[in-house]
């Protein structure tokens, strides 16, 4: 996908504005304390307001020149989705299944290996990783679900 730096900056500015407004909105409901004993809401409220003002200035001023930006491709999107999916599956499906699925998907998409070679390579790599980290380095990894 192609976009421009200014448009991207505008997007980040809007996201920061939302973050600032949301933080200030939430912070108002926290105890503000007194000048002598400031409460937990004082700093988030101040920061939220400052963040919103700063984001507004960013949106209006926009510091960069107009230049094209390449934003993501199939590989980037797939890698990101694969990490997200792995995070969600990690404890439900266990390490071996999650790692095999994760590596198979990425190898299939990124490498010239076919799908079945990707699955075999991924399963082998997941088993090696499990042995290395769990048995040799004592890292506790989630077990297979049917072993609970």
């Amino acid at each position: 996908m192609r976009t421009s730096l200014r448009r991207l900056e505008l997007g980040v500015g809007v996201a920061l504005l939302n973050l600032g407004v949301f933080a200030a909105w939430e912070a108002v409901r926290m105890p503000q304390g007194t000048p002598a004993l400031p409460g937990p809401g004082m700093l988030p409220l101040g920061l939220g307001v400052l963040m919103a003002v700063c984001a507004l200035v960013l949106i209006v001023v926009r510091t960069s020149a107009e230049e094209p930006v390449k934003l993501g491709n199939r590989e980037v999107v797939c890698a990101l989705l694969a990490v997200l999916a792995a995070g969600m599956l990690w404890e439900r499906a266990g390490f071996l299944i999650t790692a095999t699925l994760f590596l198979s998907a990425l190898l299939w998409i990124l490498s010239p290996l076919g799908w079945w070679r990707s699955i075999i390579a991924a399963a082998a790599a997941a088993a090696v990783a499990r042995y290395l980290f769990q048995n040799l380095l004592n890292v506790v990894l989630p077990p297979l679900p049917f072993l609970y």
Binding site: P44, V57, N73, V83, L84, A129, V140
Partner: protein, 473 residues
Amino acid sequence: MIGCIWGTVVGVLPGLGPLAGLTLLLPLTYQLEPTGAIVMLAGIFYGAMYGGSTTSILVRIPGEAASIMTAIDGHELARKGRAGPALVVAGIGSFVGGTISVVGLMLFAPPLAQLMLQIGPAAEFGLMLLALIVLGFASGGPPLKTFAMVLAGLLIATVGVDLITAHPRFTFGSLYFINGISFVAMALGLFGVSEILINLEDIARAKVIKPTLRSLVPRAQDLRDSTPAIARGTVIGFVFGFIPGISHVISTFVSYAVERKLSRQPETFGTGRIEAVAGPETANNATTGSAMIPLLVLGIPAIPATAILLSALQIHGVQPGPQMLTEHPQVFWGLIASMYIGNIVLLLLNLPLVGLFVNLLRIPYFYLAPSILLVSMIGIYSVNSNAVDIVIMAVSGLAGYLLRKAKFDPAPLLLAVVLGDRLEVSLRRALTISDGDWWILVQGAMSKIFLGAVVLLGALQTAAWLLGFRRRT
């Protein structure tokens, strides 16, 4: 030894700098006692600084940002068949710079710690503000973007239970957010995952120049030319290491510029000059010792990589700061001893094994990227045994990718997350002591110095940006 080897490997591999290397191995140090853990992580830190030069010289791919200047003349030397001398001079320079900066760390840290023991909450607040503003000053981007990143980092730091009243903030009733957002997951996402995503956009294989062992021996003229550059690089690197931000990168640019300025043939820079390799490589490694001073003495990480070291120390129950020298002297002096040994290990390790490290570059990126991501996920899961951290890492990776594309530097955000708690607690303690009188923040001598520097730097930065902005428009 493991830290040095791993550090060299991550330094050699493009897209994996010291920060990613540290975050990847951090969870594996939990089994070690604090001194062993911090020694290993410090080994990764300066190992990565060493390793970055190898790919810069042989492939013209800087393994990390601090090796960009080395790539210019280093690779030109390699193309002329003189990769060996360039690697040896880079190794010697790194060794000299690294070792002398450790001596500086040893000399400067204890008296500075004594001085810092005397400051109260108001001065500490000023110091935290100063650290954030210097960081913004050094990050090089427009101050508005840096300021936005600092504010975002400070806001993220407020997530979790309030340290003074135990009131939950931005937790949305979830137990996960009670202790705040995992710093390591965020760091790994913002820097490690985003770097991999950027590299995935252009998977190209570079042509590797492989030197023979015999060709490593430099000529006497090479050593004569590089000795003054190494001396200057050591001083530049050590001084710049104190500056929070991207000091290790800036020091290499300054060293290159100084060497060029002092050269009798400045026009030949860029065509393969040995001084242009010796100076920046020495400066790069000389920052490692001085960058440890703000971390160990003030508890302020000067660069994102030392923020991971700070996190590691805290996980092992060691709070960096002025008290560290008295409360955990074995960690402090153990670290210093390890830095001396580590520099020798790296010199002995890097030169004979250069061929082996270079072979790592032959591994196609489409195999490397999934493996790095899997190891990152294992590492991040082992911190809290919580899969939500992997999701946080992915989301931070996306955020880091977009921020970098939009030319926002995520380093100030990360460092603000680290400093946020101390900034807030010191401000609130100072206000409680003064019964709500804000003037306490400018009453002490140290507070005046810190806040004066904040105002001065802030004004300078804004003026410089406004002048540049007006010129552009």
